[in-house]
Each structure stands twice: as C-alpha cells, then as structure tokens.
C-alpha cells in the first residue's frame, strides 16, 4: 500500500463531509441578508433558521437558545468576557461576584481569555486534574464560593480525549448558585451531548471539528441565563452577536450536524475498533510506550501516546514523510518550545510532554490505514531512539 495521505489529525480539523460540501455548493447563490424583509432575505433567513433547529435538536436545546458565532474560540471568549462586565444594568453584573473557576487543561482560547480576565482584576482559580486528566469534584466544591460567577470546564480534551463528568460538575456549580459553561468543541459530534441532561448554562460547539466548514461555531445559551454580548451593533442572533450571519457557514454547520445525527453512532463503533487495533499494534510492536488519557472516559477517536526517548516534532515529521498526518501536543513545531500544558498538568515529566503524539481518527480512516500505520510506526520510533540521548534500552 502506498497511501497518498493518511489523515489522523481530526481533533485539529476534519475533512468536509461530502453531503455538507454538496449543500454548501447548492446554496452558494443564496446571497440575501437574513435580516432583509424581501424574498431574497427571507430565503436566507429560512435556511439559517433550519440550521439552527438542526443544531438545537441535536443537543436537546430550543432553537432560540442557539447563537451562531465565528468559531468555538469566539463562543468561549464571549462567555468568559461577560464576567468582567461592570455595568450595573448588565444581566451578568452582580455585586461581589468577581471570580471564575476553570481547569488547567482547557484549550488556549479559554486559558488565554482567563489570563486576560485576571489582568482586568477578576480572580481566576484553576482546577487541577488527576493522572487521567479528570478534574476533581471535591476540589471544585472547595474552590466555589459566593464570589464565584462562572465555572468553565471543557467536556472533552483536545489532546488526550478525556471526557469530564459534566453533569456532576454542573450540579455542584449550581448548588453554589454560579453559572456553568462547557467547551464541548471536541465532544459534540463524537459523543452524545444533551444540554438538558447535563444541565449546563452555556455550551460551545464548532463546525470544522465535525466535518463541517471552518469559521462557524455555536454557543448554547440556556433560556434566562445571564448574557452579555462580545460583539455589539446589531440585532442579529437575538442581540447576542452582532454582524451579518455567515449564512453559508451556518448552512454547512446545520448539514454537518444533520449528518452527525445519522452517522455518529455507527462512526463511534468504527472509530473504537480502529483505535483498539492501533493501540494493540503499538503495544505489541513498540516497547516503552505510555498511553495518556482516561482508559474509558475518552473520546472514541483520540489516542495520545508518549514514546520514551523520542522527541515529538521529529516523530511528526518522519511520519509526515511516510504520508501520515498526526500531531503533537507540544508546540515546538509551531514556534515555541513549550511542552504540552495538558501532559504537564496530568503530572507526566516534561520529556513526555515533548514527546507525546496525538492520533485523532476520523470517519474516513480505514483498517488498512491502521495496518500501514502499525507497519511504519516502529521503524520511525526505532530510528529516533537510535539517535536519542535519552533512550538506553537498545544497549541491553
């Protein structure tokens, strides 16, 4: 088998679903402004609202609780930035509430937004995680006070796939009267998510992580939840997000979600089979590997593995030369030398954080590709370990 490219980086982004592509091409000529009253505007409005219904029903929400945004990052920033609102008339403003709680393994868009809040005088507290990447509900209970306005904990981690007990977290947060947001960008479309069952106040999702287009995300805003817009100057999205709707993106997201509702279940079975085969293949053919993440509470598509003595960027690039696309949690490849904050947070040594590889499978991956991967992987790791200053085992 000489594959052109084996794409196993689906937590970074996914290829667009053929059905989504088809619908987007078909509706490319729908140019009307959904806010316009004339026929062309009404046509666009109808398609946007159909997509909103699709998104809402997939996560158990009402359509009016769905706000479209330019990305998952924007949706997350919207929720977090609202906490700083000091206007007395803002629904978010509450005397004496000036604290948020988040976790150490959040996506950078939440961590950086939190850091910025801290600089603006908001007290930010961080939940640590255990060796599997799970936050502690006990610690959450300890940290919550009457000053806590918002708690934001991601549903599934992008690097290691660990899925949190969102329902349990929401319950504790609500006991203390605070508001709960979950960044579910990696979860929605991969595992069942129902906002009513989870009882969250805000939930973020993104189109391009589920075979939809890029540049479109959505935020679930529970009815009557306090809200303060990030982008002002228009009545769109019920005044929650100004700016003319990204009609085509919204239509694409709606279709992607429709396809997810049809295919998620069978995809999950397929992905779990592939992942099990890949894990077995790695275990049987490469010594001294460490699988990172929760053994069961984990996304079906995500496998994070650390190879002792092998540096991450080198692994990525050797695999790239063999036609395999995976990624590393460490950001060295993107210009900094910082090791993965997620791997460090779960307590693994920095050398693991520099050498952990994230393999995130998608619906298009096949068992043949896994077999090819298992054939290539031991050679690549062996080659890197041969020149490693750290790996000594071969001397035995």
């Amino acid at each position: 088998m000489s594959p052109k490219e084996i794409y196993m980086d689906n937590n970074a982004t996914t290829p667009i679903h053929p059905e989504v592509k088809k619908v987007m091409i078909e509706t490319m000529d729908v140019f009307g402004n959904p806010s316009s009253l004339h026929a062309s505007g009404r046509q666009a409005r109808q398609l946007v609202e159909e997509a909103r219904e699709e998104v809402a029903s997939f996560i158990g929400a009402s359509p009016e609780e769905i706000m479209f945004a330019g990305s998952g990052s924007e949706a997350n920033n919207t929720v977090l930035s609202a906490v700083t609102c000091q206007r007395k008339q803002c629904a978010y403003h509450q005397e004496g509430v000036n604290e948020i709680i988040t976790s150490t393994i959040e996506h950078p868009c939440v961590l950086e937004a939190s850091k910025c809040l801290q600089e603006r005088g908001v007290n930010v507290l961080y939940l640590g995680v255990d060796e599997y990447g799970k936050v502690s509900l006990e610690q959450l209970r300890d940290l919550l006070t009457e000053r806590t306005g918002l708690v934001s904990v991601m549903m599934a981690n992008n690097e290691i796939g660990t899925v949190q007990d969102i329902k349990g977290i929401a319950e504790i947060v609500h006991e203390r009267g605070a508001v709960f947001h979950t960044d579910a960008v990696q979860a929605v479309g991969k595992i069942p998510v129902n906002v009513r069952e989870l009882d969250v106040d805000f939930l973020t999702l993104s189109g391009h992580k589920m075979y939809g287009p890029k540049g479109i995300g959505a935020l679930y805003v529970k009815k009557d939840a306090p809200f303060c817009p990030l982008i002002r100057g228009g009545h769109q999205e019920r005044g929650r997000r100004a700016g003319t709707e990204n009609t085509l993106g919204i239509i694409g997201l709606g279709k992607a979600i429709e396809m997810r509702s049809q295919e998620m279940k069978s995809d999950e079975k397929h992905l779990l089979e592939l992942k099990a085969a890949l894990k077995k293949g790695i275990e049987e053919n490469i010594p001294d590997v460490l699988f990172v993440g929760h053994p069961t509470d984990c996304l079906p598509n995500t496998l994070n593995v650390s190879f002792e003595g092998a540096e991450g960027e080198a692994i990525i690039l050797y695999l790239d030369l063999e036609g395999i696309a995976v990624s590393t949690g460490s950001a060295c490849a993107s210009g900094s030398l910082d090791p993965s904050h997620v791997i460090l947070a779960i307590g693994l040594p920095a050398e693991c954080a520099h050498g952990s590889i994230r393999i995130s499978l998608g619906r298009e991956n096949t068992m043949e590709e896994i077999a090819y991967m298992i054939d290539v992987f031991p050679r690549v790791i062996g080659k890197i370990r041969d020149m490693s200053t750290v790996y000594k085992r071969r001397l035995q």
């Binding site: 092998a310 540096e311 991450g312 080198a314 050797y318 030369l321 910082d338 920095a350 041969d386 001397l395």
Partner: protein, 203 residues
C-alpha cells in the same frame, strides 16, 4: 491541487531522513573529547563526541546523538560532516550561521533548535584540551565578540536576556548590540532565542 512544500529545505529534509554519523555505541566509542548540552526537560539535548588526529591537530571523526527536533537532527548531521578533517581552531569557530548556510537555511523559529550541535562541538573540543593538558588553548564561550562595531560579546547578550530582554530591539536598547553595521542581527537573534530557551524554558 499542488502539494504544499515542506517548511524545510531539501538539504534539511535529506539530512533529517538520513542523518550521518550517529553515535550508536556510546560506551564503546573511544572519544578524545565529549560535549553535552541542552536539557531533555526543555525539549532538546545534544551529545557530540570527537576523535582528534593529534599530530595534525584536526578532527578525525565526529559523532553525535540527540533528543531533539528535525532542525537539531539535520543541523548536527551537517555539522558532523563539515568538521571532519577540519583544524580544531576552525571547527571551534564554526557558528550556527555557517551550519544554516550549509543547510540552505532554516525557518526563523527553528534556528534556536540548531545551535545545540555547534555548542556541544565547542564543548567537546574544550574537553579534548582538558584531557590532554592543553588548558591554555581553551576558549571561554563568553569571550566571543558577536557585534564587532559595538564590541558586544555573547556573554553580555546572555546577561541582557536574563535581565529581561526578549526581542532584538530590547537587546539593542540594553547593550547597543547591532546598532552599528547591523550585520550581526541574525546571529544575535539566534543567541537571543537560545538564551531564552536556556533560561526561560518553562518546565
């Protein structure tokens, strides 16, 4: 659609795919000098060993290994070929710039990964001098003048980084480095990145 090209040159890619002179038998290799630099916790570590033709004062053999990224691998591979047969003094004076030129250039943000090899080489050469009672020949790293116009050494640059300089501009403010002809800018930027990594790599 065309295939997007690699961020690295063909030479980098070739050396990355087929690295030369890897030290496979660390215990059995009877080196005359050895240099170890970097830190695994910071994401890269380098060992360079040399054998010296003592009569001619040239490097007879050079081997290396690393826990490092593609640019560390490729640049040290190239370096190990360049220095064979080279006089110790000449080898000592090789800079990351010389290696990068041989590689056809590295992306800016990867240059800092490539300075490990030549640093370990200089340590190996110094180690050879120590082992052979030639301490007088040892050159202190910090004595190297980087900016000839303003007479700024790498030690001063390192100090400025420790004092908070994070950009070339801040270095200029603090040390006047590169404010003359400006020819040293690239090398200073490399040193800046290397010192930032050395001292501020968060672990």
């Amino acid at each position: 659609m065309t295939q997007a090209s690699w961020a690295y040159t063909d030479t980098v890619k070739e050396h990355f795919m087929n690295p030369r002179n890897i030290l496979m038998d660390e215990d059995g290799y009877k080196e005359d000098g050895k240099g170890v630099t970097g830190n695994v916790k910071c994401g890269d570590e380098m060992i360079v060993v040399i054998k010296v033709d003592k009569e001619k004062g040239i490097i007879a053999d050079c081997k290396w290994k690393t826990f490092g990224c593609a640019s560390a691998i490729a640049s040290t591979s190239v370096l190990s070929e360049m220095v064979k047969g080279m006089k110790l003094d000449d080898a000592y004076n090789l800079s990351a710039k010389d290696i990068n030129r041989e590689l056809g250039g590295l992306p800016d943000h990867k240059v800092h990964c490539s300075v490990l090899g030549d640093k370990a080489l200089r340590m190996a050469i110094n180690d050879y001098y120590v082992r052979n009672g030639m301490e007088g020949k040892i050159k202190k790293e910090e004595e190297r003048v980087v900016c000839k116009c303003m007479n700024v050494t790498d030690q001063e640059i390192e100090h400025a980084v420790l004092e908070g300089a994070r950009t070339f501009y801040e270095l200029q403010e603090m040390t006047k480095v590169g404010t003359g002809c400006g020819e040293c800018e690239q090398e200073v930027t490399q040193l800046l990145e290397a010192y930032k990594t050395k001292h501020f790599c968060e672990v």
